[in-house]
């Protein structure tokens, strides 16, 4: 009979120790809105569950000199209620608020969304486009990596067995910088993204884009960072020709699968559509700064 052990350590070292010394598979628990469901369905059967929420710093939002520090397990609801962060990064914070429902957001976190390593995680493209960093802790100490370096394939991350994400750092949005995220789902909520797109842009006073990062979700085994698409935006204003090129670049980058949630053809076309719509929102927001 399956009966996992549950631990809720109060320090990073303790948590790392539990992960490093687990006899069978161990899993970190943040909100549990993915993990518990996967355990219930029998898809995952970890021997050890390490709940990180009692460790100082894993829940909460602080503004510091190097950017916004967001505890790995901070629930979406708390993120959505943080006026400062929402004003600075409307796309990042809107994305996390798309996850599930009010109830799910009472628990669902950035770290869980990222480390579940589904290419369709809604909060990931926005974090990537914003240039967010993941602070990872493990038995060899602390390391900081770009968020896009965490997932490596569906369900797998680059973290070692003894590591977990402690917090995220999102740089401060300087000057005319802003972002947006949209996803396509067949319904209006409670669904998994068929395509997701996050874009951050920086504009100069004339409205010309000087920096951009474009990220697509759910159209490849991992999220995609579209350097070509960013180059199309940089040096240009939001005109029809630029949008058409962006659409084409987004479509060209897609490597989606045919499945019950959408066909290859559909996902590819919608990726182009979303890239255009998201760019339009990000440009408008950046211009208003």
């Amino acid at each position: 009979m399956y009966s996992p052990t549950y631990a809720a350590p109060t320090t990073v070292d303790e948590a790392v120790g539990l992960l490093a010394n687990a006899s069978g598979a161990a899993r970190v628990l943040s909100g549990g809105t993915d993990l518990i469901i996967q355990m219930r369905s029998g898809r995952l059967r970890p021997e050890v569950i390490v709940d990180i929420k009692k460790i100082a710093g894993t829940i909460g939002i602080r503004e510091e000199a190097d950017g916004w520090h967001i505890g790995a397990a901070t629930p979406g609801a708390e993120i959505g209620e943080h006026a400062g962060l929402c004003a600075a990064w409307p796309g990042v914070t809107e994305a996390v608020q798309l996850i599930g429902s009010t109830q799910v957001q009472g628990r669902a976190s950035f770290a869980g969304n990222l480390c579940n390593a589904s290419p369709a995680g809604d909060s990931v493209p926005g974090l990537v486009a914003a240039g967010a960093l993941a602070v990872i802790v493990g038995k060899n100490g602390k390391r900081t990596v770009p968020v896009e370096d965490v997932p490596v394939s569906p369900g797998r991350t680059s973290l070692a067995a003894d590591e977990f994400v402690y917090e995220f750092i999102i740089p401060k949005a300087s000057g005319k910088t802003s972002d947006a995220y949209l996803r396509f789902i067949p319904r209006t909520e409670m669904d998994i993204a068929v395509v997701g797109c996050g874009i951050t842009v920086t504009l100069d006073a004339s409205g010309t884009c000087t920096a951009a990062k474009v990220c697509l979700g759910a159209v490849a085994p991992t999220i995609l960072v579209l350097d070509d698409a960013a180059k199309i935006l940089i040096g240009n204003k939001l005109d029809d020709a630029t949008l058409a090129k962006l659409d084409a670049a987004a479509q060209a980058a897609c490597k989606p699968i045919d499945d019950k949630r959408g066909t290859i053809e559909f996902r590819t076309k919608v990726a182009g559509v979303l890239a255009r719509r998201v760019a339009a929102i990000a440009f408008e927001r950046a211009a208003a700064r």
């Binding site: 009979m1 399956y2 396509f184 067949p186 319904r187 209006t188 909520e189 409670m190 669904d191 998994i192 068929v194 019950k260 949630r261 959408g262 066909t263 053809e265 559909f266 076309k269 919608v270 559509v273």
Partner: protein, 758 residues
């Protein structure tokens, strides 16, 4: 009895009191199937086939039986081998042998999720682990999922004893085509020759599940003396009793079934899946057994309704007269015979008075779960096709879709294609109500469109029982045999209160178990308010007669000289004014002196259910770049005869429309190449969520049914008939593209727009 045309004289009927089961449900106290407890009970689980089609070579239960905590394992060997026999116990015919094999596979598994064994243990987790420890050896056979492929020569054949009936000559080799059916009148060829415009198209629909929130659940005890107790949520506890008796080979008198509250059924709980298995496990274990399906089991193992392929041809003159109409309907039955092909054919042209018409259908088995009834079984599928084609026809001749329907509408005296001549129907009134609804004045913007479609459903009557007892204080205990899936307890109490002339709060309605009230057919066919309501009124009339008799005794006058008014007995005629009136409570308290307790029962086999007519008008907006369809406005007009409790009638109409919206836009069973269900959960089986929907506006039309004491007609089924066509027609109006395949999901809408260059 009351004059049904005198609506104004009614005091209770037509009002909106709080439902008697409401507080418990709001507070989470209502006891559903999975809440029922029996002392010492243990927990059941099932082993299900991972294959779409396979021969069972061997089932090894030894490892499971050896596990600590496991109390019983059953396979088909523990159930009687039933011979083929047609049953009319649930909604629509079912063969007892097929039902037995559907519960627990014998020799062959016929779909992914087919039960092959069941186990009971001291906890659910042990039961599940034991189920995993049961080793089944299969010889995997080729499978077929799609109904058109299943009809092809050379397709894998599911049953070697199906020889298509209804064709001449009868085939000599078995196939998956169970039967051919046909309804025809007039001269089709001449009718089409007379038409100025003809529309001819093929449509397909996907199987959809009733998606009730409460999974199938029961607790059952098979006692050593042979007596059985079952508590379960179902659409008919007498149906559960009959099936359990037959499938286990025991007498009906040995089984008592108590209805739990039911968290939705929509037709899908008019047959059994768990109860006989729980009894068989209990018999072996010597303990009561609770079984509750998981959501995945509900999708894989319980009946969705059919998907199908429909060919339609319909023609009209430029003045709008429909001259000929033909539909060919091919429906999936699932693994065993019995799709709702009959009603699909009978309903699809019923809204029209057409001289030359025909409907031909085929019932086809394939490697899917056996279909179960789902609101107006069959009608939504065929009507999606016919009402789409009529919309196209109205555009071809340049006539407003409601005007075209008015011009050809079935009326009193119209002889339907399927035989009967309509009486007291309110279809024209329903069309007028839709036409005059303020929503139709709303202006449409870019990429927005409006669609209209109509629908018909027979509604049924049938056998029902009810009893009333006058309590010592003059309150009333009302017992009926109909599980309440839509607020029917409220309606029953209201009808009794109306007849008795008392406040509805004084009537306490319950649903009796199978030993406490007479036989009552399932809650299905939109029959309860009509049939069980008639029984309640009959029993209430009897109570009034007895109350008058008791008053006559107290006053020592003739019973004919006592009148019942507003809940009291009055001396009438020559005696008028001679005695103080006696209230129901006054008489009740003295009943011991006037002949003993006052109670009555009534049983009916109600005939003359008035058919239901629905006309839906929907406004949509299509996002042409993503294919997403948003429902902007929804108007549902329906002839309901008389709304006993208007809120619950409106609720039925809204619920039907919403389920239809899901059917239209996103719901479908998706199978992988191995014939395994790929979306057995609410994440990927997409029912509409609240934020997808506008308020569903309901226009109730009341053309009374003279065969019911207050004029009620069935209301629960027809509202799911028009939505799919109405939405397809609205999408066409918005985009110029005709969607001929359900669901009209974003990928399909976008692909259709691209193909049309829009």
């Amino acid at each position: 009895m009351n004059d049904i045309s005198l609506k104004d004289a009614l005091k209770v009927v037509g009002t909106r009191p709080v439902r008697p089961d409401g507080v418990d449900k709001v507070m989470g106290r209502a006891q559903f199937g999975g809440d029922a407890v029996m002392p010492g009970m243990i927990f059941g689980s099932t082993v299900r086939s991972p294959h779409a089609h396979a021969r069972i070579i061997k089932i090894d239960t030894s490892a499971a039986e050896a596990m600590k905590g496991v109390r019983a394992v059953v396979t088909a060997a523990d159930l009687p081998n039933i011979t083929s026999e047609e049953a009319f116990v649930g909604e629509g015919p079912m063969n007892f042998r097929d039902l037995s094999c559907n519960l627990m596979a014998r020799d062959k598994v016929l779909y992914d999720g087919h039960v092959v064994a069941a186990v009971a243990a001291t906890s659910t987790s042990i039961a599940r682990a034991a189920a995993e420890a049961i080793k089944v050896e299969y010889e995997v056979l080729p499978h077929v999922i799609n109904e058109m492929e299943a009809m092809q020569p050379g397709a894998p054949v599911l049953h070697d004893d199906i020889f298509t009936s209804g064709v001449d000559p009868k085939p000599t080799t078995p196939s998956n085509v169970v039967k051919r059916m046909e309804f025809a009148k007039g001269d089709l060829e001449a009718g089409f020759a007379a038409a100025d415009k003809i529309v001819e198209r093929t449509y397909t629909t996907a199987p959809v599940h009733q998606a009730y929130i409460e999974p199938h659940a029961c607790v059952a005890a098979f006692n050593p003396d042979g007596q059985c107790q079952v508590i379960c949520s179902s659409q008919g506890h007498f149906m559960v009793r009959a099936y359990c008796a037959k499938l286990l080979g025991i007498d009906i008198s040995e089984i008592r079934v108590t209805p739990a509250e039911i968290g939705g059924g929509f037709g899908g709980k008019t047959l059994v899946y768990l109860e006989p298995l729980a009894l068989a496990l209990s018999r072996k274990a010597g303990r009561p057994v609770r079984m509750v399906m998981t959501r995945e089991e509900v999708f894989r193992g319980s009946g969705p309704t059919s998907g199908g392929t429909i060919n339609v041809k319909v023609g009209a003159k430029m003045d709008g007269t429909i001259t000929a109409a033909h539909a060919e309907v091919i429906l999936q039955a699932g693994a065993y015979p019995g799709s709702p092909i009959g009603p699909a054919l009978m309903t699809c042209w019923a809204m029209y008075d057409i001289e030359n018409a025909s409907a031909v259908g085929f019932d086809v088995v394939s490697n899917r779960p056996k279909v179960a009834a789902y609101r107006a079984p069959g009608a939504p599928i065929s009507t999606y096709a016919t009402e789409s084609a009529v919309d196209e026809l109205s555009r071809a001749i340049g006539m407003d879709p409601i005007e075209l329907r008015l011009k050809n509408a079935a009326k009193d005296g119209t002889k339907a294609l399927y035989g009967p001549t309509f009486q007291n129907i309110g279809y024209v009134e329903t069309l007028e109500a839709a036409k005059n609804h303020p929503n139709l004045q709303a202006k449409l913007g870019p990429n927005q469109g409006r669609g209209v479609a109509a629908g018909f459903w027979f509604n049924i009557g049938g056998e029902s029982s009810a009893s009333l007892a006058v309590n010592e204080d003059g309150t009333i205990a009302l017992v009926s045999g109909s599980p309440d899936i839509g607020g029917s307890r409220a309606s029953m109490a209201m009808m009794a209160a109306e007849v008795l002339g008392v406040n509805v709060e004084r009537v306490r309605p319950i649903i009796g178990d199978t030993a406490s009230v007479g036989f009552t057919f399932v809650t299905g066919g939109s029959r309860v308010t009509f049939a069980t309501g008639t029984a309640v009124c009959d029993a209430s009339d009897d109570i009034v007669k007895q109350l008058r008799g008791r008053a006559a005794k107290l006053w020592e006058i003739d019973v004919e000289a006592v009148e019942w008014r507003d809940g009291s007995a009055y001396p009438a005629g020559d005696n008028a004014g001679k005695f103080e009136p006696l209230s129901l409570a006054d008489i009740a308290v003295k009943s011991g002196r006037t002949g003993g307790p006052i109670a009555a029962k009534a049983t009916v086999n109600a005939q003359g259910a008035g058919p239901g007519w629905g006309v839906h008008v929907v406004d949509v907006e299509v996002d042409k770049e993503t294919g997403h369809v948003k429902i902007l406005r929804y108007t549902a007009a329906q002839d309901v005869g008389r709304a006993i409790h208007p809120s619950y009638v409106e609720g039925q109409v809204q619920g039907g429309a919403v389920q239809g919206i899901g059917w239209a836009l996103n719901e479908e069973y998706i199978y992988d190449k191995d014939g395994r269900l790929d979306n057995g959960g609410f994440l990927d089986y997409r029912v509409p969520v609240a934020s997808d929907l506008p308020k569903i506006d309901v226009a109730l039309v009341e053309v009374p049914n003279p065969r019911h004491p207050f004029g009620a007609k069935g209301v629960g089924e027809v509202p799911i008939v028009p939505p799919m066509a109405a939405i397809a027609n609205a999408i066409f109006d918005a985009t110029g593209v005709r969607m001929t395949s359900l669901p009209m999901s974003p990928p399909k809408v976008r692909a259709a727009l691209d193909a049309a260059g829009k």
